[in-house]
């Protein structure tokens, strides 16, 4: 009977537990699990990442990408003239084609030149920029030797509009509308900007000097649509159309850059997510100059399939397959001939494994590319990070990266060779010089980095990184006639980046400093247009009654540049600039903004022989419905 008594005991004393097991009798404290929202391009605890948000862009009131990007450590920006002129971005002292530019996940550079035309995209079309320094080849492929600049186009929330007037007869308009909820959301944003400008060149430009003003205009439209699918799925479409007309010395250029993207992501199981992305990029550049009238038309199709698998919480495996197809043609107007019309394609597979061990974070990744021209190429990267205390974190990484030869490098037939005094190549023997070379291998790099993050309080974060890049196989003209392109150069860039962000009360202070050395290790000479030291300071203060004030100081050291008169090198002096910004919030949705550029009207050069903006005032009035809504 005792068993029956026990049974009774269960039924009577704790029978209610048996019968009502679905009802809890203790409500435990909520467990709060937090994580810092990570940058999308790279893990900011294992790499040097700077994130520029819409709020940052609006606070600095930068008028173009040069003014915005040059403030950041490890980034040098050079432009041959004023707004709209050709802009080159150098990350960590590497070449301007060693930075991968992505717009909404799609490669934006021209497959022919390997360069992105920054003049086509105004800042009013940009929601967010992530600047990652260091090699990123494994996940992103070619070009990411110095790093990646990932641009996310504007995501309108409600109605927004902005009208701007400024120096050099600058006028700009932007209007956008967007909305939706967790299920479906959309955004459309249109912008146009033009300026009469100033002469891009001064007499130091030699042959290129033309004192006329070089105007520019651009217009762009971005649209996005995304919808949530069951099981954490998502389908999204995005389109960006941007076009620019630019007056140059000499001549002018019309540029067009169209990007289309579609992505579908699903979670077949709770710990596996897959994303399929299709992209189409179209880039056209029509150049009209005396003796040089060409139309370059390129297209790039890409398909990416990426899988993320998390077998155990904290251990992540990423596997991806990608295919890209580049087509480019160059048409010469004067001779009415097609200079070349060629294509290349690339397939790649990559894997990345992230895991934690005893408080250390590790990231091991590898990739293999198979290119229609240069065949197989492998890259790999290893990164480690550790929190030494709540405030200190250290990370280190070593990786390889590459830059695939672009269509011009591979297939351009060369430029007609004419007789002139001192011509080393006899035109009868060499009808063309500087031809491309279909046997080119990719430029390769190996980089090491050591980083430190100090965050004693939430309001203050200091990031420092030491880097060293060894680049080999740099594509350049050969040393013997006809000077065909070959993998000939070696370079070494190394330095220290320091970035500090301080936020307290209504004050914000950002400091960015770079010390670097970029050399051609074959000749021992300094690489051009990369200053050895740079310091920028941004101080912002929110006063009462909706007024914000900011001041920005830019201090750049001297650098070596190409001398357009002697064809040798020339030392370009350093410079310092000060800019002031004011913003006044009139009402909940209206703001008036003003920026005084180059307060002391300093005359300086960033590229030898080319002018830079003097003192200028830019004013704008803007409207933003649902002001304060955060952007993702």
């Amino acid at each position: 009977m005792s068993s029956l008594r026990s049974l009774l005991f269960c039924i009577t004393a704790s029978g209610l537990h048996c019968a009502l097991a679905d009802v809890a009798d203790i409500q435990a404290d909520k467990v709060l699990v937090t994580a810092t929202r990570s940058a999308q391009t790279a893990d900011s605890s294992l790499a040097a990442v700077s994130v520029i948000t819409r709020a940052d862009i609006e606070r600095t009131q930068a008028t173009d990408v040069v003014q915005l990007l040059r403030d950041y450590a490890g980034v040098d920006v050079a432009r041959t003239g004023g707004a709209g002129q050709q802009t080159s971005v150098f990350l960590r002292g590497t070449n301007s084609n060693h930075v991968l530019v992505l717009i909404d996940g799609i490669r934006a550079a021209s497959p022919a030149t390997g360069l992105y035309n920054w003049a086509t995209l105004p800042l009013s079309q940009i929601e967010r920029i992530e600047v990652v320094r260091g090699p990123r080849a494994v996940l992103y492929g070619s070009d990411a030797i110095g790093g990646v600049i990932q641009i996310f186009t504007r995501k309108a929330d409600g109605l927004s509009a902005r009208a701007e007037l400024g120096a050099y007869r600058t006028r700009a308009l932007q209007a956008g509308i967007g909305g939706g909820d967790q299920r479906v959301n959309y955004s459309i944003n249109a912008a146009t900007r033009r300026a009469d400008g100033f002469s891009a060149t001064n007499p130091g430009a030699g042959y290129y000097y033309d004192p006329d003003r070089d105007a520019y205009s651009n217009r762009s439209l971005s649209a996005k649509l995304s919808a949530a699918l069951p099981q954490d799925g998502k389908i999204a479409f995005n389109v960006l159309h941007s076009a620019a007309d630019i007056g140059q010395d000499p001549g002018n250029m019309a540029a067009l850059n169209d990007l289309f993207g579609a992505s579908l992501s699903t979670s077949p199981t709770a710990n596996w997510t897959q994303t399929l992305t299709l992209g189409l990029a179209r880039d056209r550049q029509d150049t009209r100059q005396p003796y040089f009238n060409t139309n370059v038309d390129t297209q790039r199709w890409s398909a990416d399939w990426q899988n993320e698998w998390e077998p155990i919480s904290g251990q992540l495996l990423v596997l991806g397959l990608t295919h890209t197809n580049d087509t480019g043609s160059t048409f010469d107007i004067d001779s009415a001939t097609t200079v070349y019309d060629r294509s290349s394609h690339n397939d790649a597979a990559f894997a990345e494994w992230q895991f934690k061990l005893d408080g250390n974070s590790f990231q091991i990744s590898a990739r293999q590319d198979r290119h229609s021209s240069f065949g197989t190429h492998n890259t790999a990267q290893l990164a480690w990070g550790r929190d030494f205390s709540k405030a200190w974190r250290s990370y280190a990484s070593y990786g390889s990266a590459f830059k695939a030869p672009d269509l011009n490098d591979l297939f351009h037939p060369g430029y007609p060779n004419y007789a002139y005094p001192g011509n080393p190549c006899d035109p009868s023997l060499y009808p063309v010089t500087f031809p491309g070379n279909p046997n080119l291998a990719p430029e390769t790099s190996r980089s090491a980095e050591l980083g430190l993050i100090w965050r004693p309080v939430n309001a203050s974060e200091l990031r420092a990184s030491l880097f060293d890049n060894r680049i080999a196989g740099l594509i350049d003209a050969g040393t013997t006639c006809p000077f065909a392109l070959t993998n000939i150069g070696h370079a070494n860039t190394r330095g220290l980046e320091v970035a500090h962000n301080l936020n307290f009360d209504s004050w914000q202070l950002q400091t960015n400093a770079t010390l670097q050395q970029a050399r051609n290790t074959d000749t021992g000479t300094e690489l051009l247009r990369r200053p050895k030291r740079k310091l920028t300071l941004q101080l912002a203060h929110d006063l009462s009654q909706g007024v914000s004030l900011s001041a920005e100081g830019v201090f750049v050291g001297p650098h070596q540049d190409f001398d357009n008169i002697t064809y040798g090198t020339v030392r370009v002096g350093g410079y310092s600039l000060m800019n002031l910004m004011l913003r006044y919030r009139l009402a909940a949705q209206w703001s008036i903004e003003g920026r005084l550029d180059n307060v002391f009207d300093k005359r300086y050069e960033v590229v030898s022989g080319f002018n830079t903006p003097g003192r200028g005032l830019f004013m704008a009035i803007s409207y933003q419905a649902r002001a304060g809504a955060p952007s993702p």
Partner: protein, 218 residues
């Protein structure tokens, strides 16, 4: 006693049916707690119902405080009393610990054996021990972090007297299967919570555990 077993069984069955048909749910957040959602030991609910059943079973003039048990002890009560006496011996009884509205069906006093075993101190200790234990095991799943998923997962689990966790179930989804699965997997990996055993007093409890995964901007 044996001849009356069928009688007691049928009374017990009737009482069970009566309770099952009229049960409206456990008031998990009692009205006069200052902090909503904080740990609350509502042992009184189990004990209260048990005692009301026992009261029904034992034809006594009033439901006795089982600690001061009467000598009119039927086997069921004796078993129960032995069980509770063990608990009573563990800690000194100081104050009523749970300020809940206890619905004793026969007007019995609200002081029940199990709750009265725990002082306000003990309850606080159990709360802290559970909070510390749970907080140290959960971490943000990597895929959810990459995709920006966040939400609250509600789990139900049974905390055994020896500190083991069993019957781990998902009560409410966060809207993202990655977070739900991560919370369940983490709970299943939590080893026996020996440090809370002392405060459990040999009872098992069903715990409703909310886990919030939240992303903060860096």
């Amino acid at each position: 006693m044996t001849q009356r077993l069928p009688f007691y069984l049928s009374v017990s069955l009737l009482a069970h049916l009566a309770v099952l048909l009229t049960w409206h749910g456990v008031p998990v957040t009692p009205p006069n707690l200052t902090e909503p959602g904080s740990l609350q030991i509502a042992l009184v609910h189990a004990a209260q119902q048990a005692s009301s059943i026992i009261a029904a079973v034992v034809p006594a003039p009033h439901a006795p405080s089982l600690r001061h048990t009467s000598t009119a002890a039927h086997s069921t009560i004796r078993t129960h009393r032995r069980h509770n006496a063990r608990l009573a011996a563990a800690t000194p009884i100081t104050a009523q610990t749970t300020p809940t509205a206890v619905h004793a069906t026969n007007g019995a006093p609200t002081t029940q054996l199990i709750t009265s075993n725990l002082s306000a101190d003990s309850e606080a200790h159990l709360q802290n021990a559970l909070r510390f234990a749970f907080n140290s095991y959960f971490s943000y799943p990597a895929i959810a972090l990459r995709h920006g998923w966040a939400g609250v997962v509600k789990l139900s689990l049974r905390l055994e007297p020896d500190g083991r966790l069993s019957e781990i179930r998902l009560i409410q989804s966060s809207g993202h299967s990655a977070l739900d699965a991560a919370a369940l997997a983490t709970a299943q990996r939590i080893p026996p919570l020996h440090e809370v055993m002392t405060w459990l007093q040999g009872n098992s409890h069903v715990i409703l555990l909310p886990v919030e995964y939240r992303l903060i901007d860096g």
